[in-house]
């Protein structure tokens, strides 16, 4: 009974619309004729879909480990520092920066006539004595993905550091102290005590990092538009462009595929986590 209102809300606002999406994925947009799995086949055979999936997974494969690793490293370094709170607050600033400002800053930095190219040109001329440094158009070359990953890290590291610090704070101090008394070195401390103890945080932070990857699309779109350089053309670009082109049937099929993939990933991670907890 207590669950009923919440359940009704979920049914009404999530489950029913999703079922409608599933239904539409088998219909043709426009005349609503039943087309079986044609939409799924069309999505699968679509070159833009293949490109978008490849780029999205590459972005995820590079961005998520880098974010998790760098934020964990920083949290371990900050863990016992006195200035920890102030530093963490400073690291949270990028999250408070409006997307438009961030995009503008990025453009100032990475434009062909931007700050980075200016500094590199000067450095090449004066320090390295290479007179012909050619300015790079970062957003219109394969460098584009690097730019996107860097901005993703800059924006999200602070938040993840806080999450890791919370996980570290929850670890029982006595165990670490006992290990130190027993002569455990830093590596052993990390490997046998901290790492297993953070496995719960690992799952949460991992999922949040994946979600942040999807959320960072807004900045990418604002910087590079609906048809960016091919290395930063992601699944959201495809969905957005299909929406503008009234390809609702393909959108529905793609949404179902993405939901299934995410579900499988979540289930695998959860199962792995449960296994680890049992072993621990």
């Amino acid at each position: 009974m207590f669950l009923l209102p919440g359940l009704a809300g979920v049914m009404l606002f999530y489950l029913l619309p999703f079922l409608e999406v599933v239904r539409r994925s088998f219909l043709q947009s426009g005349n609503s004729a039943f087309v079986g799995i044609d939409n799924y086949r069309a999505v699968w055979e679509n070159g833009a879909f293949v490109l978008a999936v490849r780029n999205t997974f590459l972005y995820m494969a590079v961005g998520v480990p880098l974010l998790m690793g760098s934020s964990l490293l920083l949290s371990l370094l900050l863990r016992n520092l006195r200035l920890r709170r102030r530093l963490v607050s400073a690291m949270l600033l990028p999250m408070a920066v409006p997307a438009a400002v961030m995009v503008l800053t990025l453009q100032i930095l990475i434009d062909r006539q931007g700050v980075i190219n200016g500094v590199l040109t000067k450095a090449a001329e004066q320090i390295m004595v290479i007179p012909a440094f050619e300015a790079i158009d970062y957003l219109n070359t394969e460098w584009a993905l690097v730019v996107v990953v860097c901005s993703f890290l800059w924006k999200n590291t602070g938040y993840m550091v806080i999450l890791w610090l919370a996980g570290l704070a929850a670890l029982p101090k006595e165990v670490e102290e006992a290990a130190q008394v027993d002569g455990a070195n830093r590596w052993q401390n990390w490997h046998y005590i901290i790492r297993p103890g953070l496995s719960g945080s690992f799952f949460t932070i991992g999922m949040l990092s994946v979600l942040q990857i999807f959320k960072s699309y807004r900045e990418v779109w604002m910087v590079a538009g609906s048809y960016p350089q091919e290395h930063i053309y992601f699944l959201q670009h495809l969905l957005q462009n299909w929406y503008l082109k009234l390809e609702f049937d393909r959108m529905a099929a793609l949404t179902v595929i993405m939901s299934l993939v995410l579900l499988v990933v979540c289930l695998c991670l959860q199962k792995r986590l449960e296994q680890r907890e049992e072993n621990f």
């Binding site: 679509n46 833009a48 350089q229």
Partner: protein, 801 residues
């Protein structure tokens, strides 16, 4: 417990179903009677304002037009009341008129005639000067002075009380002005500039865009405010709001606000509630002392002291809703009718028609991405012909809400997905193939065939819209633009291609080594003037991009930019750009308009422009613009015999016989009123609609009509009368008639229309991409080859999608 839970579950499900499906109900019977309007024929002249007199007569005036009195019978008395222009007046800014015909006006001096004023002007003193002309025509300078009045103040609003006292408002205060000696008495301070002042007995109501001030003239004190009116003014002043009272002699004593903010609660409609009230103001206007207000959303009544502002006429169903015009004055007549004067020489009388349903029973929805004056005008005309239909005109990107094109398209697509399709869509800047391919658009062959069979429309232009894969027509442009060049004949005579334009420019540069050749301050301007005549050639038959042609295009425009830039150093071009933006700020459409862009370029300090590329965007006015530009060009070159030196002609780029389709209209397959939509389309294609628009609103950028007879009619109209319509002060004294198109030119234009068969539609993905990359190519960031490859890469993803 289990049973109770199940019952509760059933109740919740029922409630949910009721909420989702609605409760339904019997169809409501629509009451009869609502306000309609009829146009008032105005005497000759270009009038902007009206001063209403209590007996129903009125004065008309414009900032450059003589004061004209129109009596109760509607007879114009011409110069019956004196209004003498003073030779020293340069521009009149503000005018006030009394019931008896006395007037006051503000102006800036014609400084080159007066050394003292010139010195003032040079010193940066840009104060207005004032004159007062009494009812007998005696004129005297008015020099405002007095305690609390600063010398530097400009008086922006004037109003005479029923007794003939003059009141005026600056940006920050309201004053009483003694017209005899110019003494000014500061009455009260205001938050913003007061736009409107009305009198009711001893009380003066002054309103700015967010607050109403009540001043008791007998007691000499400011009365309490009224939050109902304040809220109304805040939300309804955009686009202009005018006020009038039902009885100017009745002293209004009750100013108490009985319910703050009740305007919304009481159902004061904001344009969403369409004519729900159906109130006839004549029924009780004599009994109740009321304030009337007219703005874009409608005509409203406020009974003094009340807490409700009632809408008595809906803007959407009257001329008030016209976004192209702002109301400038309102007159309340004894019989419950109203007169509304609009800026732009237009006046209507609003009358209560008992035969009309209070609320139209049908609704026709017309959608366009951007505001389109022609379409809005057609809606008003259609509504007049079908009083039982409300034409709801919706724009996806109206100027106020700053919605991007993508967001607007997403909103539209969401509506389509939800089955809420509009009946008519204006497809400008939209992907017609996509919408037609998805079954959103209805095929129009059936509607268009009779027009084509009878030779009414230009077949080549309509056929240019036929979709190649489906072999059907889904949309039709109502207007087109044609590409034209203007310049010295030797440069572009026999021009056949983009390369010829480049060769012409090289020739011009040799002859004129300094300054601009084209009017293109920015790289984007070169693209604006050339992409339309090239873009149709960039797509191969299989739909893929022709990279070679695009590369050739980038090479040609790069060369054009180089030639043009050779006449400047970087500082020179920067100064030109700054000057251009500060003084003219032309839009992209201005830059592409051959009739107007020379006027921008010619007036700048950076030398002559030797060639003009652009589009003929209006029939009569456009051709005249060409002639005027020719004259300006020849004058700049100090050549007297225009036709021998300066000429004009059609130009081609990489595509031949291009026309730029404008106001492209399609009907929605899933629209709720298919029959009405068809009738609406027929109205759009009718001669009166196309012709009347031109006679009523001859404005730039609207296009050449695709109806042959209408185009002919517009080009054949009486030029003198047309000149007067356009506001030319003295049709015989100035040389404008010399510039109207000749018979030979008309025939040439008809032939161009007959030949135009290659459609250019702006706003496609390819164009946006080519422009963005093209700017980088012209700025040197990419080579033409790199640019073309970049466009190819981006378009490849689009094609894959």
């Amino acid at each position: 417990m289990m049973r109770k839970g199940r019952v509760l579950l059933y109740i919740m499900m029922c409630a949910m179903c009721a909420a989702l499906w609605g409760c339904g109900g019997k169809e409501e019977e629509i009451p009869m009677g609502r306000y309609a309007d009829r146009e008032v024929k105005l005497p000759p002249g270009t009038f902007e304002y009206m001063h209403p007199c209590p007996d129903g007569s009125y004065y008309l005036y414009g900032l450059d037009t003589e004061l004209t009195y129109v009596d109760v019978q509607g007879e114009s008395k011409g110069k019956d009341r004196n209004w003498e222009n003073n030779a020293n007046i340069h521009v009149k800014y503000v005018v006030g008129v009394s019931d008896e015909g006395a007037s006051v006006f503000a102006y800036t001096p014609r400084f080159w005639n007066d050394e003292e004023l010139e010195a003032l002007w040079i010193a940066g003193d840009t104060r207005y000067l004032y004159y007062y002309v009494d009812e007998k025509g005696q004129k005297q300078a008015l020099e405002p002075h007095g305690e609390g009045y600063e010398k530097a103040t400009n008086l922006n609003t004037f109003a005479f009380s029923p007794e003939g006292e003059l009141y005026a408002a600056s940006d920050t205060a309201v004053y009483r002005v003694n017209v005899e000696n110019g003494e000014v008495e500061s009455l009260f301070a205001t938050q913003e500039q007061v736009k409107s002042i009305v009198f009711s007995g001893d009380v003066m109501l002054a309103a700015d865009a967010g607050k109403a001030y009540f001043y008791d003239r007998a007691e000499g004190k400011l009365l309490d405010g009224n939050s109902t009116l304040d809220e109304f003014l805040s939300s309804h002043s955009a686009g202009g709001l005018v006020m009038a009272v039902s009885d100017r002699n009745a002293h209004v004593k009750i100013m108490e606000d009985n319910g703050a903010g009740d305007a919304e609660k009481a159902g004061a409609p904001d344009g969403e509630e369409t004519g729900a009230s159906g109130t006839n103001a004549g029924d009780d206007s004599k009994n109740a002392q009321a304030l009337y207000m007219a703005c874009r959303t409608g005509l409203y009544r406020y009974i003094w002291g009340g807490s409700v502002i009632e809408q008595i006429a809906d803007g959407q169903m009257t001329a008030l809703g016209d976004t192209q015009r702002s109301p400038s004055a309102l007159q309340v007549l004894d019989n419950g009718e109203f007169r509304v004067m609009f800026s732009g020489n237009y006046m209507v009388e609003m009358y209560y028609d008992e035969t009309l349903p209070a609320r139209p029973s049908k609704e026709l929805t017309v959608y366009s991405l951007e505001e389109n004056g022609w379409i809005r005008y057609a809606g008003q005309l259609f509504q007049k012909e079908h009083p039982d239909v409300l034409v709801r005109y919706e724009t996806g990107m109206d100027g106020d809400n700053a919605v991007s094109k993508e967001d607007a398209l997403k909103n539209l697509n969401t509506r389509l997905l939800a089955g809420e399709a509009p009946d008519v869509i204006v497809m400008d800047h939209m992907d017609i193939e996509q919408y037609a391919g998805k079954g959103v658009l209805r095929e129009l062959d059936g509607i268009l065939q009779p027009y084509l069979d009878e030779g009414i429309l230009y077949r080549n232009i309509v056929e240019g819209m036929r979709m190649t894969d489906k072999e059907k027509i889904y949309s039709v442009p109502m207007m087109v633009y044609l590409p034209l060049w203007l310049g010295e004949e030797m440069y572009l005579e026999g021009e056949q291609s983009l390369e010829d334009i480049v060769a012409g420019m090289e020739q011009a540069r040799q002859k004129h080594p300094e300054g601009a050749i084209l009017y293109t301050p920015y790289p984007k301007d070169v693209l604006l003037q050339t992409i339309p005549v090239c873009l149709p050639a960039w797509t191969k038959e299989d739909g893929s991009l022709d990279v070679e042609k695009l590369t050739a295009y980038y090479r040609a425009v790069s060369r054009m930019w180089e030639i043009d830039s050779a006449g400047f150093d970087a500082a020179g071009r920067e100064a030109w750009q700054k000057n251009n933006m500060e003084w003219y700020a032309p839009t992209d459409m201005d830059m592409a308009d051959i009739g107007s862009n020379y006027q921008y370029s010619a007036q700048q300090n950076f030398g002559e422009t030797w060639l003009q590329l652009g589009f003929l965007m209006t029939p009569q006015v456009g051709m005249t613009g060409i002639h005027v530009s020719k004259a300006n060009m020849a004058a700049d070159w100090q050549q007297k015999e225009l036709d021998d030196v300066v000429t004009y002609g059609a130009y081609a780029g990489q595509a031949d016989n291009v026309y730029w389709a404008r106001t492209i209209v399609g009907l929605c397959e899933q629209g709720k009123e298919p029959k009405l939509a068809e009738e609406y389309m027929n109205l759009l294609l009718s001669d009166p609609m196309m012709r009347k628009w031109w006679l009523d609103k001859p404005r730039n950028h609207s296009g050449l009509t695709i109806r042959k007879d209408s185009l002919g009619d517009i080009l054949d109209i009486n030029n003198i009368e047309f000149g007067q319509t356009m506001g030319f002060k003295d049709p015989t004294g100035v040389n404008y008639p010399d510039f109207w198109p000749t018979e030979e030119e008309k025939q040439w234009l008809y032939q161009m229309m007959e030949d135009a068969d290659c459609c250019y539609r702006p706003g496609t993905m390819l164009e946006e991409c080519a422009t963005e990359v093209g700017v980088r190519v012209l700025e040197g960031g990419l080579t033409p080859e790199e640019g073309a490859r970049e466009v190819e890469r981006k378009m490849a993803i689009e094609m894959e999608e």
